[in-house]
Amino acid sequence: MIVAIASGKGGTGKTTVAVNLALSLAPDPGKPASTSVHLLDCDVEEPNAALFLHPEIQQRRAVGVLVPEIDFAKCTYCGRCAEVCQYNAIAVVQQKVLFFPELCHGCGSCTLNCPEGAIRERLRASAVLERGTVGQRLSFAQGTLNVGEAMAAPVIRQLKQWAIPKRTRRALVILDAPPGTACPVVEVMSGCDMVLMVTEPTPFGLHDLRLAVQVARGEMGLPVAVVINRDGVGDRGVESFCAAEDIPVLMRIPMDRRIAEAYSDGKPMVEAIPEYHPRFRELYDRMREVAAP
């Protein structure tokens, strides 16, 4: 099963749920594994899961987008490349070709359209992907966008291609999504079996949950379920919304200072409060029912 952990609003506890779910499901060292667990931190702008898991990184690679490189011996400055570029990443002014790499989406259309075959493509690195393991128990991967880079979505796409195992029937793949509801979030959700929304019971939480559900269920047709974090603060809006929309609430994590303190020190909740181990395993059982009813 591949599950995206999303929320709309930031800071609702996506990473907390992703990390603790992974740790609770990962097999004990030395014991035969029925499920292999993979955690991918897809919040490439601000990846935080590694702060809680301290993975041992075994592989690292630079990724980015394929950008055009012009062979000026062949270029006739006809301007066709600039004409087809939808992102204004190329401008041809008299005998000059100006290229703005940060605007390039790497679609390759300029290369295909150049009548002189004067464009080649090279990789322009915009992020680093890393992969490794956490104590031999779970596979970990993350992407980190370089500072000053704009486009997260292509990095997420490449992270998923690189780190999601080919066969996922007996695996649990957890994708920790960034906040928001725009293209990076869609990139994470694409190809998932379900989306687990982590929200808080406040007007901001509800407002953004509504939008995130619209993306996951409305636009992408994926089953969704909710975890309410900091249960007890705020109001009843999220509960009413879930009931009205027929969205199952699979877990409620109470507002608890011990959880907030463990989080602030980078300690996984299931290590600080071991009673949560069985609760996260139970969450997984309920998620499977949602993903394959």
Binding site: G8, K9, G10, G11, T12, T15, D43, E45, E46, N48, L51, F52, V84, Q86, Y87, H105, G106, C107, G108, S109, L112, N113, L145, V147, G148, E149, A150, M151, A152, P178, P179, G180, T181, A182, C183, P184, V185, V186, S190, T202, P203, F204, H207, D208, L211, Q214, V215, G218, E219, M220, V233, G234, D235, A260, E261, Y263, S264, D265, G266
Partner: protein
Amino acid sequence: MKQLVTLSGKGGTGKTSVTAALAHLAAQGASIVVADADVDAANLELVLQPTPVEEHAFISGSLAIVDASLCTACGRCAEVCRFEAVISDGDSYHVEPIACEGCASCFHQCPAQAIRLQPRHSGQWYRSDTPYGPLFHARLFAGQENSGKLVTLVKQQARLLALDRRAHFLLVDGPPGIGCPVISATSGADLALLVVEPTVSGIHDLQRILDTTEHFQVQSVVLINKADLNAHRAQEIASFCAARSVSLVGHVPFDVVVTEAMVQGQPVTAHADGPVTVELKRVWQKLRRRLTS
């Protein structure tokens, strides 16, 4: 007119609650305009009691559409698409709107000229009146591209009105992350207020957002929110700020009044007179001095 942008890197640290409070405080002695630059999960409208004044469509980018009656099913479109947006239907192809980045590569390569490009209605933007001044905000439709362009548009409109009305301050509530919409929200700011919480994730993300604002040469100051949650981590932030020569403008304590104010749909400073409000008043005095000196 001076422009302040509230950022954080990490989501859910309290950007919007802080910006709403600053709008309330600033409006008491100055004329302000407010812009919500979090266009995929806009929350400022929930606490500034907006009355709609104008609404406009945001048309940006394009969507490729295959005319099945002209399609010869040669598959060239799917071959050139780098976004996995072209899907085979057997005797024809179609484009998945949510995956299409509007690059037009398929449009140019289709030998049967069966593909057309349609301008994309990707969101709405609004101007509203609030008790504190005009608010510009927007909604990017679920899963759309170009959030940075919509942020730029919202800010541009807010700026024009601010100049027109000779407003003293433009307050911009930024999105989480460090990518495309954050870069758009940051450009042109006179000062960035970085709201951080005293957690390992908060500190990690603070470094990345500070690297980003420095990269774009925007001066930053830091505000620690929920500062008493972990005194040790708050001290770590203070040392980090000192090492990077960044001013720390305040320590807002954790208090349930912040959530209560949100439930009431009000800025916290308009809702309660406790320690949170006292500290935010002090913070605004410092920011105002810094912006106007």
